[in-house]
Symmetry: C2
Subunit: 348 residues, 2 copies
DNA sequence: AATAGTTTTGCAAATGTTTTCATGAATGGA
DNA sequence: TCCATTCATGAAAACATTTGCAAAACTATT
């Protein structure tokens, strides 16, 4: 009867104690086996290894973490993963830090600053070793909360040199200015702008204001009805473009706040029977996958997402591993990609 | 001098003890304040609240976790985030489980089964409360490792009813069969196929074999030089399509393994001067963002990524919260989206 | 005012590890 | 063979919490 009972007993979860018992050593030795194997005699190592394998023991990082040992996690907070470009930057960040043994704790706030704060708190409860925020603008409470901790933190995606934490990314002002200058240099004066809502989106905000400023400085003004606010979506942008192009007064160029909008604009132009770039020039910002292959290939400003992600990963993981070191920001410069969707204006 | 020293002392990190001291209660009471506030008297609650705020105390989930309390994390392993479609499914999964208080621990293995195993181990070290794998096929060691734990696990993205863990997703066999049948029903017999490498990718594998089987059953055979293996990339697919279409023998339709390949194929056709669908029909699988808006709008099979992500999130979080319950798989059916990139063959 | 019941709190043990220090076991040199 | 090293291991304290149990502090009832 007792035997029966024993057989029924749920094999208790393996822990360091059960492994130690099985291997006939103390828990200290098992701990050392994992953390400083060179301090453990070979034959003992073998015994422990066997016990570990037999029991299927998996170390408990939570128990390590309460000793002040790093959790091995990095909190990454993005607005959304639904935009391919953020997914790309997260991917390369994740790959980079994974090489250093970190795993990422990922969450998105959907452009809601309240949620960002709540997510950050939760990540701190998990004792992440570092924090990555997307963009430069955040609720002051977010900054204060991070300040109150001792973990390194960086701002990824945008760059500016006067930021609260080191920023690694591209300067969206230059990106906006570049594309505006490009069209101006091609002789365009009748220019429409299509940008996503700028609220809670400092990237879009910076791009938009840089474009407008560049145009204004050149004496070009954009009438209100040529300033479109369109959510990040090919279909919305296609629709709005169609509406814009069906008016009697047509711009000779459309500056789009990102490549998704530009893609929709390209489709809209095609649908309304206009030829790009002969009848109208269209530009994007971002240089997303596919922008070089679309017909016509899109003129845009390349924001090097992969590079940003890996630089940020490198910077943050070394800040974690080497707490004394100073982490500095890094400007991953945007570059103008002139392709076939824009061309000099033919004055007749 | 003493005052000076005190001012210099690094304010020690707040923990439950320091909060308890400041609030003049025991640590038990502080713990209860967080976990069972209704058991704590109102005025005591107030005192604790003040102390917590003043010290900026943040609970340590690691310390909770070693008491067998859930970690509040779910491990999500995907092949890559670089494909918009995985990013989308992760996004909606994450949103769904976030509502239940879970945060996701995310990692990608880049279609490498060894890496998947290593990632899984790491996630178990973090004591995730549940595991999500992408696709049906995994190394047996992966399954055995999960089996040895007591946490729930699901397979996301694909569906089949004979899987080792509940699967939530679409049946890629039907998806492949659907699109092949569609083209057959339109009279196409000269059909080329362009698929990504199927190694380590059960989705692509299932789609491809279903397509081939459907065609063969209908008496249509695809010559070798019309079977293209092309990596997931618009530019590669555009290039390969161009090459294919420059031959003297041209198919009347191309079945692409996913919408990215199909997009590239569309561009390739445009670049080679062919009109879609008049000269050639092109189809995708996936119905990615933008596939409905591209010119011509892509005929494809819709795999409901958002729905898959949220159903999986729902299923897994309830399996975690309610450990007794049985989790069943769910087939999120693919649907044929007939748009403008395919049309019945004109026999002349 | 005494009693019984209820609510609130604290003590102490427990969780799964790491780490410091101390001890015992080998090893090498004389 | 003995002593001084060096190497390998263990005991126990520490980490930041939770929780079962018991004591204390209230309330309500008589």
């Amino acid at each position: 009867m007792n035997g029966h009972q024993v057989a029924n007993i749920k094999q208790k979860k393996a822990d360091i104690v059960s492994v130690a018992t099985a291997a006939n050593v103390s828990t200290s030795t098992v701990s050392r086996y994992f953390n400083h194997p060179e301090l453990v005699k070979l034959v003992t190592r073998r015994r422990i290894e066997t016990a570990v394998r037999k029991q299927g023991y998996i170390r408990n990082r939570a128990a390590q973490t309460i000793h002040g040992i790093r959790s091995g996690t990095i909190g990454v907070i993005v607005p959304t993963l639904d935009h391919a470009i953020f997914a790309e930057v997260v991917q390369s960040f994740s790959d980079t830090v994974a090489e250093q043994g970190f795993t990422i704790l990922l969450a998105s706030h959907g452009y809601d600053q309240q949620r960002e704060y709540a997510i950050l708190r939760k990540m701190l409860e998990h004792r992440v070793d570092g924090i990555v925020l997307t963009g430069l603008d955040h609720d002051d409470a977010v900054f204060r909360l991070i300040d109150s901790q001792t973990i390194p933190s960086i701002l990824m995606w945008n760059y500016a040199d006067d930021t609260r934490y080191p920023s690694i990314g591209s300067d969206n002002n230059s990106a906006g200015a570049m594309i505006a200058e490009h069209l101006l240099s091609q002789g365009h004066r009748d220019i429409a702008c299509m940008f996503p809502p700028t609220r809670g989106n400092d990237r879009a905000q910076a791009r938009f204001s840089a474009v407008m400023e560049t145009l204004t400085d050149a004496g070009v003004s954009v009438p209100d009805h040529w300033q479109l606010t369109t959510v990040y979506s090919i279909s919305d942008s296609k629709r709005d473009t169609l509406k814009l192009l069906n008016r009697t007064d047509r711009p000779t160029a459309i500056i789009c706040g990102n490549d998704i909008l530009a893609t929709g604009a390209l489709y809209g132009a095609a649908a309304s029977g206009l030829r790009v770039p002969d009848d109208i020039s269209i530009t994007g910002i971002g240089d997303f996958k596919g922008s070089a292959e679309i017909e016509p290939a899109l003129t845009t400003v390349r924001i090097p997402a992969k590079r940003i992600g890996s630089e940020a990963g490198l910077a943050l993981s070394s800040a974690i591993i080497n707490p004394g070191s100073v982490t500095t920001g890094l400007h991953c410069k945007p570059t103008l990609m002139i392709r076939s969707s824009s061309k000099p204006l033919n004055r007749e």
